[in-house]
C-alpha cells in the first residue's frame, strides 16, 4: 500500500537524508509529507483542472464539478475500504440520502447552500450511525451484504412509501438553492482574477469543499486515529489484543466515510438542483467501489483520479463518434487493465512511474 512508508522511522529517515544530501527526491519527499503541501497541491490541482479539462480534454465545467463531487465521495469511501479494510456495498444510501435530505431541507427550511450542505451531511452521519451500528455486527461478505440490503431498502422506501417526501420515481424536483452567504449567486459567474481559470461560481464552491475534504481526510489518516484504522485493516485481531476497541473504531470509520458521502450527496443536490431516485440504487454503490478501486485503494489522491476517469469515460468518451456506444465496454477494459497492471490503481501507476523517474526513493 502506498501509505506504508509513512511510518515514523521512514519519515524520520527521509528527513535526515534531506538534511544531509539535500537531493531533489528527498526534498520532494520531505515536502510531500507535510500537511500544508498536500492542501497546496490540492488547491493548485482544483484551480487549474477546469482550464486543462475544458481546453485539452473536450470537457466542460459542469462535468468537472461533478467529478469533484464524486471525488469527495470516493475519498471518503477510501477511508473505509482502503484504510480500514471494510467493503461497504451500500454507500449510495448516504450519498442519495444526503442528497434527498439536502433537497428537502432546501425546499422547506432554508435555501442557504451552507446550511443545506450541513443538513445533508448531518443526515448522512445519523443514518450511518444506525446502519453502521447494525451492519458492523458482521464482518467480511456479511457486512457487505447487510449494507447492500440497507441500501436497497432505502431505495425502495424512497420509491414508494416515502414518495410523499421524495416525489417517488420522478426524483425530487423542488430543490431550491439560494445565494451563498446571502450575496453570492451560486449558479452565476465569477469575478475577474478567478475567471481566467474558472467560469462558474458553483465550481468554486465545490472546489473549496473538495480542498477542505481532502485536508480533513489527510488530517484524519495521518493522525493516531488513522493509524488505528490501518492497524485494523492489517490485522483486526492483533489490534484488538493490543487493547483497542476495534468495533468502535470501525463504526467511526464508517461514520466518517458516510460524512464524506453526505458532503458529496448534498453538493450533488445543489449542483443538479435535482435528486434522481437512482442516486439511492445499488448501482450507485457499485460505481463508487469501481471509482475507488480504479483510482487506487489506500491512497489519498487516487480516488479523485478514479472518479474523474470513470465520469470522463461515461460522459465524454460515450460521445465519441464510433467508440461512444461502447463506453461500458471501454470502462470494463480500463478497469481490467488497471487492476491487472496496477493493482494499486491509477495512483499506484503514477507512483510506479515516479519511482522509475526519480529512482526508487523510499518505496
Amino acid at each position: 500500500m502506498s501509505d506504508e512508508p509513512r511510518d515514523a522511522t521512514a519519515t524520520a529517515a527521509a528527513d535526515a537524508d534531506a538534511e544531509v544530501t539535500g537531493g531533489f527526491a528527498d526534498r520532494w519527499a520531505n515536502f510531500r509529507d507535510r500537511e500544508i503541501s498536500t492542501v497546496l497541491l490540492t488547491v493548485v490541482g482544483v484551480a487549474v483542472f477546469p482550464f486543462l479539462f475544458n481546453n485539452f480534454l473536450d470537457g466542460y465545467t459542469q462535468l468537472a464539478t461533478l467529478m469533484l463531487i464524486y471525488g469527495i465521495f470516493a475519498v471518503g469511501f477510501d477511508i473505509l475500504l482502503g484504510y480500514t479494510g471494510l467493503l461497504s456495498f451500500g454507500h449510495a444510501v448516504f450519498f442519495g440520502g444526503a442528497a434527498y435530505a439536502a433537497g428537502i431541507f432546501s425546499a422547506s427550511v432554508s435555501s442557504s447552500p451552507l446550511l443545506v450542505l450541513l443538513a445533508g451531511t448531518a443526515f448522512a452521519v445519523l443514518l450511518a450511525w444506525i446502519v453502521g451500528f447494525l451492519s458492523l455486527r458482521r464482518g467480511g461478505i456479511y457486512f457487505a451484504i447487510l449494507t447492500l440490503t440497507f441500501g436497497q431498502m432505502s431505495f425502495y422506501l424512497a420509491a414508494s412509501p416515502l414518495a410523499f417526501l421524495t416525489n417517488g420515481e420522478n426524483g425530487f424536483t423542488s430543490v431550491d438553492i439560494g445565494s451563498l452567504l446571502g450575496v453570492i449567486d451560486i449558479h452565476g459567474g465569477v469575478p475577474f482574477p478567478l475567471s481566467m481559470l474558472v467560469d462558474n461560481m458553483l465550481y468554486v464552491f465545490v472546489a473549496v469543499m473538495t480542498v477542505l475534504s481532502v485536508a480533513m481526510a489527510n488530517r484524519i489518516l495521518h493522525s493516531p486515529y488513522g493509524t488505528v484504522f490501518r492497524a485494523i485493516r492489517e490485522n483486526e485481531r492483533r489490534a484488538e489484543f493490543v487493547g483497542l476497541n476495534v468495533w468502535r473504531y470501525k463504526l467511526m470509520a464508517f461514520i466518517i466515510s458516510a460524512a464524506f458521502a453526505g458532503i458529496a450527496g448534498s453538493l450533488f443536490a445543489i449542483e443538479g438542483n435535482y435528486v434522481p431516485l437512482e442516486s439511492l440504487y445499488w448501482t450507485e454503490s457499485g460505481r463508487i467501489v469501481i471509482m475507488t478501486v480504479l483510482g487506487g485503494v489506500g491512497s489519498l489522491f487516487g480516488p479523485l483520479f478514479g472518479a474523474g476517469l470513470y465520469l470522463y469515460i461515461e460522459n465524454i468518451v460515450s460521445g465519441f463518434p464510433t467508440l461512444g456506444p461502447f463506453w461500458h465496454l471501454i470502462l470494463g477494459v480500463v478497469f481490467v487493465v488497471a487492476v491487472v497492471l496496477f493493482p494499486d490503481g491509477i495512483w499506484g501507476g503514477i507512483n510506479y512511474v515516479r519511482d522509475m523517474v526519480v529512482g526508487g526513493e523510499d518505496e
Partner: protein
C-alpha cells in the same frame, strides 16, 4: 452432472450460430430467405442416471410448436418456433409452506459446451429457467438483470451459501412475503419488506437459514 452431453442436445450457441448464419445468408440473398423461418430445438432431457442421482422424477418432457405469421411491408413472414421443455420434480425433500405446498419444480433447458459446462449447467440452467418463467411476470427490458441481481444474491445468502434447499426456502419466503404485502394492501412496502426480512435474517442468523455455522465476525 453431465446431462445431455451426447447426441441429442440443443444448445444456445449452436442455435444462435445457426440463426446468425441464416440471417446473414438471408441478408446476402436480399432478405428473401427471411420470409419463412423455422427455429427448431431438440428435446432436452435429464438422463435417467442423473435423475436418480438428484432424486428427480420426470413430470413433463415435451415439445411445443408455435407458428407465427405476420404481414410486414406487404410481404408475408412466417416463423415456426419449436421449443422443448422438461420439468422434473424432486422427491427427496418437500418444503411445507402452508396451503401453497406441493412439489417443487425445477426446469432445465440447454446446457453449454466448453470449459464452464459444469458450472454453467448448474447455474445457468436455473437462472435461465428463471428468465423463462419470470419473463411473462415482469417487463422484459435490458435492465431486467440489474433489477433481479440483488434479490437473487440475497436469496442465496439468506438461504445459506452452498445450500440449494436454502435458496429454495429463502426464495419462497421472500416471494411469499412480497405477495402477502401486496395482497394485504401494502404494495408500497412490498420491496422494502423483503429487504427488511433479509436484513433481519442476516443479523439473527448470518450463516443463512439452512447454512452451517461459519465464522461471521
Amino acid at each position: 452432472m453431465t446431462a445431455n452431453r451426447d447426441g441429442n442436445e440443443w444448445n444456445r450457441r449452436r442455435f444462435l450460430a445457426m440463426a446468425g448464419v441464416t440471417a446473414g445468408a438471408g441478408m446476402l440473398a436480399g432478405c428473401g430467405g427471411l420470409a419463412n423461418q423455422e427455429f427448431i430445438a431438440d428435446t432436452v432431457v435429464l438422463p435417467a442416471a442423473d435423475q436418480e442421482e438428484l432424486g428427480f422424477t420426470s413430470l413433463v418432457e415435451e415439445t411445443d410448436r408455435r407458428e407465427y405469421s405476420r404481414s410486414v411491408a406487404g410481404q408475408d413472414v412466417n416463423a415456426t418456433v419449436e421449443s422443448a421443455i422438461s420439468v422434473y420434480a424432486q422427491t427427496e425433500f418437500e418444503v411445507d409452506f402452508g396451503d401453497s405446498g406441493g412439489p417443487l419444480l425445477f426446469r432445465f433447458d440447454g446446457g453449454e459446451d466448453g470449459l464452464f459446462a459444469e458450472v454453467s449447467e448448474k447455474l445457468a440452467a436455473p437462472a435461465s429457467a428463471f428468465g423463462v418463467v419470470g419473463g411473462p411476470l415482469a417487463n422484459v427490458n435490458p435492465n431486467i438483470g440489474t433489477e433481479q441481481l440483488v434479490p437473487a444474491f440475497l436469496t442465496v445468502v439468506i438461504g445459506g451459501v452452498g445450500k440449494i434447499e436454502g435458496a429454495v426456502v429463502a426464495g419462497l419466503m421472500l416471494g411469499t412475503l412480497q405477495v402477502l404485502l401486496i395482497q394485504t394492501g401494502n404494495a408500497a412496502w412490498s420491496q422494502v419488506g423483503i429487504y427488511a426480512l433479509a436484513a433481519l435474517v442476516l443479523l439473527v442468523r448470518p450463516q443463512g437459514l439452512l447454512g452451517s455455522e461459519v465464522d461471521v465476525s
